[in-house]
């Protein structure tokens, strides 16, 4: 093998750090387009991780998964989302997010530390790979992004981050799981097609991509 096992472990750790940094970067954004570019970067980093895991385990499924992740969540979906941004200038910056960004970054860091502590005390004793702590923290950060933002594209980025986290965890925990990751990606595409239709309709009806406070939908 060209790369030594020690180097592969180092590479795996490096990609893990890049993934967490990209997630924290997304928490700190009030503009939509850098967030979309960050999710694209993160998907490529995760695709890189899958390649490293393939080199470690020899499981060819991980190569397919890397390719699908890079193409769908690294290129295709971000392109669709950036197309939405370009055609709808109002959505470039999330209203009111600027003031909340510092506190969201702090909460994000607390999630990273707290998430790791929870992983160490609850999940690690269940004989999981210590590296699973990275997708676990990523999962928590994705929930934070989804539920603290109002812009539909920001929420969509959070959703993609969540998918990244679970596929990453799946590849670490049970790479041989039959067909599940592939089905997840296929459904991802179906979901995005739907989201695209609803986003377009939402844009036409509301003239914004930010969730309105509708009186009828309260209570």
């Amino acid at each position: 093998m060209i790369l030594s096992p020690a180097l592969l472990t180092e590479l795996s750790g490096l990609f893990g750090i890049l993934v967490i940094l990209s997630a924290l970067y997304m928490q700190g954004q009030s503009f939509v387009d850098p967030t979309i570019r960050a999710i694209s970067f993160q998907s490529f980093a995760i695709a890189g991780l899958f390649v490293v895991l393939y080199l470690q385990s020899g499981d060819i499924t991980l190569v397919y998964l890397a390719g699908i992740t890079a193409v769908i969540r690294g290129v295709l979906i971000p392109r669709v989302m950036l197309y939405q941004v370009r055609n709808f200038k109002h959505s470039l910056r999330e209203t009111g997010a600027g003031q909340r960004i510092p506190s969201l970054i702090i909460v994000g860091i607390i999630f990273v530390i707290g998430g790791y502590a929870i992983f160490k005390s609850v999940l690690l004793p269940a004989a999981l790979d210590p590296l699973v702590s990275v997708p676990f923290v990523l999962l928590l950060l994705s929930f934070l992004l989804i539920f603290t933002r109002r812009n539909a594209l920001m929420q969509m980025s959070g959703f993609l981050e969540e998918e990244n986290a679970v596929l990453y965890a799946g590849a670490l925990i049970a790479p041989s799981i039959p067909l599940l990751v592939e089905f997840a990606v296929v459904l991802d595409v179906l979901g995005v097609v739907l989201v695209g239709v609803i986003l377009s309709a939402s844009r036409d009806v509301f003239l914004t991509l930010e969730a309105p406070e509708l009186e009828e939908l309260s209570g």
Binding site: A174, L180, L199, G219
Partner: protein, 481 residues
């Protein structure tokens, strides 16, 4: 030629799938016919399964008592919802999607739910439940109003985010047990009890989101109230129980392990919290469809408690699933009749319904009574069994909380429903209820379809209750009542 049972499973699933494809053919009216025929075939096959007592593994499929009950319930509500759609959706002037797409998606929606409850693989159960979101999201937005589009977005986002957590549950089950086959998993002892407990925890978050379990329920009142009434009926009557089914299948894998007790308490805790929260909020609603949505949430909380308790409680939960599905679909069809007549979902604007919609008004009242556990409807039997299981297992605090939830829900829903049906409408509110919506004005009110379908479903809910009453009396005797 006698068909084997595997072929019957293929027909059960193939009928709605074929209906979905045929609905898209460019021939006028074919979508209604294809959907009705496919739903009728599904009902016939699932009833056959029920009568045959189909149990065991059949190729890719698995069946036991719960499967049979779920298949019959899903097929029946699918059929009545398609039939009710004939009356309801033609009144929508600017639909978000074409009607042939509507019928096709309804067929696919039913297909995904039937797949979820019959397939013998937890991975495919997850895929089928994820696919229910894909097939139903556009149905929520059908009426092309601001609120319906926002509700569809919230539904898609929250439910998809939740379901990704349940994918993690599936991965952990595979890692722990080395298989996803339900029939194999049911006879295996958990290799790592802690790992399986974590898997159940993720399943609770994921499938619980789809089932409307608090605090992950935020999508539910919006989607139920904004979807067209036949779709609301399918959401409430069969989609929520299908998600509970997936959760219960995962939870059942802990049977006999050391973590069963703590996880049982966790499920009971979430269930009773959901029931109490929904029961309290229900009484403060201003939108009658939203009120029915909270009632569904309350029922799902109680059903979850029943399954977690096991024994008679689990049997009660199954009875409640069937009875609630028929009772609540009836209530949503009636709500659809009211909406068609009044063009408003506001209870303040909809008063004295019994004067304008004589049959629908009374049926709506009876439907509300049925889903809140009024005897002798089936929900009463289910709730009684769950309560008796709580008492017999010595969990008196839970029994008290259940009784409080039953009482709050009963008063909260029926007080408002009776006010709406028999109350007096003020002149001001009557003039406000103008016909500026995609629905027809008051002239066209009820027809035989719009009344016969909810009546039939309500009757089934009643028959289930009456049929089961001897069991209630038996349980009551056991407590010296």
């Amino acid at each position: 030629m006698v068909l084997d049972q595997t072929t019957l499973f293929v027909i059960l699933l193939g009928a709605p799938a074929a209906g979905a494809a045929i609905s898209l053919l460019p021939r006028d009216g074919i979508e209604v016919l294809a959907s009705l025929v496919s739903a009728a075939i599904s009902v016939a096959v699932s009833v056959l399964f029920f009568l045959l007592g189909t149990t065991g593994t059949f190729g890719y499929f698995y069946a036991d008592g719960l499967t049979r009950v779920m298949a019959v319930t899903i097929s029946a509500v699918f059929f009545t919802s398609v039939a009710y759609s004939v009356f309801y959706i033609k009144r929508i002037k600017e639909p978000f999607i074409r009607f042939r797409w509507y019928y096709s998606l309804v067929d696919l929606f039913a297909f995904t739910m039937l797949l979820a409850v019959t397939v013998n693989d937890l991975g495919f159960v997850w895929i089928a439940i994820e696919a229910t979101t894909v097939t139903s999201a556009l149905l929520v937005a059908l009426e092309r109003e601001k609120t319906s589009i926002e509700a569809a977005w919230r539904y898609t986002l929250i439910v998809s985010a939740g379901l990704v957590a349940s994918l993690l549950s599936v991965i952990l089950v595979y890692y722990s047990q080395g298989t996803l086959s339900i029939s194999d998993l049911m006879v295996k002892t958990p290799a790592s009890t802690l790992l399986m407990a974590i898997a159940v925890g993720f399943a609770l978050v994921g499938y619980g989101t789809k089932a409307g379990i608090a605090p992950m329920h935020a999508w539910l009142p919006d989607a139920h109230s904004e979807a067209p009434s036949p779709v609301s009926a399918m959401f409430s009557g069969i989609l929520l129980p299908t998600s509970i089914y997936a959760l219960v299948r995962t939870f059942g894998l802990l049977q006999g392990s050391s973590v069963f007790g703590p996880m049982q308490n966790l499920l009971i805790g979430f269930g009773i919290f959901t029931a109490l929260l929904a029961a309290v909020i229900m009484g403060y609603q201003r939108n009658y469809k939203r009120m029915l949505a909270y009632s569904s949430m309350e029922n799902m909380g109680i059903i979850l408690v029943g399954f977690a308790l096991g024994g008679v409680g689990a049997f009660g939960a199954v009875v409640q699933i069937i009875a609630h599905a028929f009772g609540k679909s009836s209530a949503f069809y009636e709500a659809g009749n009211v909406l068609v007549a009044y063009n408003s979902k506001s209870m303040a604007e909809v008063q004295g319904v019994a004067k304008k919609l004589k049959v629908s008004g009374y049926l709506f009242t009876l439907s509300c009574l049925s889903v809140t556990g009024a005897p002798p409807f089936g929900v009463f039997v289910g709730e009684f069994m769950i309560l008796s299981q709580a008492l017999s297992s010595g969990n008196f605090l839970l029994a008290i909380l259940l009784a409080v939830a039953y009482m709050y829900a009963f008063i909260g829903l029926n007080k408002q429903a009776i006010q709406m049906i028999f109350g007096q409408q003020s002149l001001a509110s009557e003039s406000e209820a103008g016909p500026e919506s995609p629905h027809e004005p008051i002239a066209q009110r009820e027809n035989w379809i719009s009344v016969a379908l909810p009546f039939a479903n309500l009757l089934i809910s009643l028959i289930i209750g009456v049929y089961m009453i001897p069991l209630v009396l038996q349980a009551a005797t056991g407590f010296g009542l």
